[in-house]
């Protein structure tokens, strides 16, 4: 995974709450067996609407999505994160994220930063009166800057550390192989198995 320290890019105001993963990418787009090529499915239903924010050329090169509360609810599909990344997003900011979406973002290298709802409102207003304006997201300092607005966002320490270092989770865990083996040797024998010798 690439290291993430700070990012500056066009902010996209997505004035919607409860954007579920079926909105981010509908099921029919999930059939690919790679991690790439999902950008076409991103917000597929809304992309047909000329009024949709990404159809405004000022925002179409956006890389920082500023969304309403409860972003990423629903399915566990990591394709939702890949679709955002494949499109070009590096950061999503929202007042609340669904747990699985937040977890997937951290693993895949998309920064999911939690902001006060009032700050989200301010950033929306700023982005809407300055279409195409850039936002700076500093993961080290946990700050977001949009025009005169400067705010701190939340992201858990462990995820932040991994993103800053660009660390592969599996590699870290395999470093604890001895602990895993020790745990396995003490599991009760009646626990079910899917294969029988």
């Amino acid at each position: 995974m690439e290291k993430f320290t700070t990012h500056t890019g066009v902010g996209v105001p997505l004035r919607r709450s409860n954007v579920d993963t079926d909105q981010i990418i509908p099921a029919v787009y999930l059939k690919r067996v790679t991690r790439t090529g999902f950008e076409d499915g991103l917000f597929a239903a809304w992309r047909n609407d000329p009024g949709f924010v990404l159809n405004n050329p000022a925002y179409s090169a956006g890389s920082v999505l500023v969304a309403g509360p409860d972003f990423g609810t629903g399915s566990s599909r990591e394709h939702a994160v890949w679709a955002l990344q494949n499109y070009g997003f590096k950061v999503v900011l929202s007042a609340r994220f669904a747990d699985i979406f937040r977890g997937n973002s951290g693993k895949a290298g998309l920064v999911a930063g939690q902001l006060e709802e009032s700050v989200v409102e301010q950033i929306w207003a700023y982005l809407e009166s300055n279409p195409g304006a850039e936002i700076t997201v500093d993961l080290e300092a946990r700050t977001v800057r949009a025009g005169d607005i400067e705010a701190t966002f939340e992201i858990d320490d462990y995820t932040r550390w991994r993103l800053l270092e660009g660390l592969d989770d599996i590699g870290i865990t395999l470093g604890h192989e001895a602990d895993i083996a020790a745990y396995e040797s003490s599991r009760p024998t009646w626990k079910p198995v899917t294969q029988h010798a």
Binding site: T34, N104, T173
Partner: protein, 470 residues
């Protein structure tokens, strides 16, 4: 101080715990399906890593498979590639797979319990948010993303921050005709879709204890719809009776040892939860959704709400958008809403008990003119059991379509989809925009409401039906 059920099961699975880091949790069972696994196996291949415990891993084909002509090659080439990829990966990495055509094939959350692989006190994960279903047995079960699927394949563990705990106590008994589905839809309307975020929830109280295992699975299944990390129900005699003699259940002395342990998996009297919600089952009625998330629901006897009913501006806008998408007028009685398609199935309500209930209501009735009814068993075993009991004949006589097993119209990834503007009453778990097909409009309902709606063509409960055969 005592521990909650969730804390007991969690603590039993901690491989490693260090301050400032998430706990490393051991995973007892890893379930896999075709949609969220290909990139994970690719990752293993790239890193040259094996599957650590193929014997704790089980794969099935469900999301993307056809429910018609399932004995023939899959017609959609992209779907076929995804299913073929799973078969190739399972063979290469030594994972047990129940493919289309196999007698154990079906929706992953139906297959685990029916094989007896889902047991109390386990940790169970799957690249699917409705993994919460398995919590009905007193397991900690939750959905994970594909990166985590790869992590579990490689290490049989997951780093996880310990969630908070919540109790949802449902006192009293559900009235006649009110089901587990109505209970959970009522709860979600009460909490909103984000109400459970960050919590493992334990459902308890008389109404929960009185539920069958199928009913408990319906409740736990929808835990994710109000944002909970997982939902659990303490195992009891109902649980043990369900597991006993299932193919992968412990046998003989192992059974006794297992049950002795399972009996300890209850919340201690002096344990405390971070949050508690109390509901009264006796007040519950058939409950249906009107909007585009599972929290937007009302009793069947109510009317479509108006944006003006909400003080919060975000709720008002959400209501306006939902009504527009759903093509509904505020103030319309829910019972007057005309439905084009009724879907009975999914990991929420596609088990044998659900099909029995549907058949019982449909017996000697006919599906309304202009309405179609799709009955999709959750697994091949469920389909065979239903056919052994003659339920398929009841469905077909009533004018329903009787299909093969899979997720089907729950998510419309296979050809079973709504067309734009088409309205469904669905026993599944998500009414998101476009979930069942682009532009499709979904009302989430219980099995009895689905069956009665199919007969009347408008949202209905069995109480609305004129008795058949008189």
């Amino acid at each position: 101080m005592g521990k909650t059920l969730a804390e007991k099961v969690w603590d039993e699975h901690v491989v490693r715990s260090t301050p400032g880091e998430p706990d490393l949790l051991y995973i007892d069972l890893h379930l896999i399906h075709e949609v969220t696994s290909p990139q994970a196996f690719d990752g293993l291949r790239l890193a040259g890593r094996p599957v650590r415990r193929p014997d704790l891993t089980l794969a099935t084909e469900d999301h993307n498979v056809p429910t018609l002509d399932w004995d023939k090659p899959i017609a959609d080439p992209v779907s076929k590639t995804q299913v073929d990829t799973l078969r190739k990966n399972a063979a290469e990495f030594g994972v047990r797979l129940h493919p289309l055509g196999d007698i154990e094939q079906g929706i992953v959350h139906v297959v685990g319990p029916q094989l007896g692989l889902t047991q109390p006190g386990m940790t169970i994960v799957c690249g699917d948010s409705h993994t919460s279903t398995h919590g009905a047995f007193g397991a900690i079960a939750f959905g994970i993303g594909t990166s985590e699927v790869e992590h579990v394949l490689a290490t049989q563990t997951l780093p996880q921050a310990k969630p908070k705990t919540m109790a949802v106590t449902v006192n009293g008994s559900l009235p006649e005709g009110v089901t587990a589905k109505d209970l959970v839809l009522t709860l979600i309307a009460h909490t909103g879709t984000g109400g459970g975020q960050g919590y493992i929830v334990e459902y308890r109280g008389q109404a929960i204890e009185e539920l069958s295992m199928e009913g408990r699975m319906t409740v736990c299944n929808m835990s994710i719809e109000w944002g909970a990390k997982a939902g659990m129900i303490a195992p009891d005699e109902t649980t043990f009776a369900y597991i006993k003699d299932k193919p992968e259940a412990p046998q003989g002395a192992d059974w006794d040892a297992a049950v002795a342990h399972w009996k300890t998996l209850v919340t201690d009297d002096d344990a405390s939860f971070d949050k508690e919600i109390v509901l009264d089952a006796a007040e519950m009625t058939p409950f249906v959704t009107w909007g585009t998330n599972p929290g937007q629901g009302v009793p069947l006897g109510a009317t479509v709400p108006s944006p003006d009913d909400y003080a919060d501006p975000t709720d008002r806008i959400a209501t306006e958008k939902a009504l527009e998408y759903m093509g509904l007028e505020a103030g319309t009685p829910m019972r007057e809403i005309k439905v084009d398609t009724v879907f009975v199935g999914s990991c929420t309500n596609g088990r044998i008990e659900d099909l029995r209930l549907a058949a019982q209501i449909l017996e000697r009735h006919h599906v309304a003119e202009g309405t179609r009814l799709l009955v999709v068993p959750g697994s091949v075993r469920v389909r065979m059991q239903a056919e052994a009991e003659g339920l398929d004949k009841v469905f077909i006589a009533a004018g329903a379509e009787w299909r093969g097993a899979g997720c089907s119209m729950c998510l419309g990834m296979n050809p079973d989809q709504l067309t734009p503007g088409e309205r469904s009453a669905s026993t599944s778990n998500r009414n998101f925009e476009g979930r069942q097909g682009k532009g499709g409009r979904t009302h989430l309902v219980s099995v009895p409401v689905a069956a009665a709606t199919a007969v009347r063509g408008t949202l209905s409960s069995p109480a609305d039906l004129v008795p058949a055969g008189v």
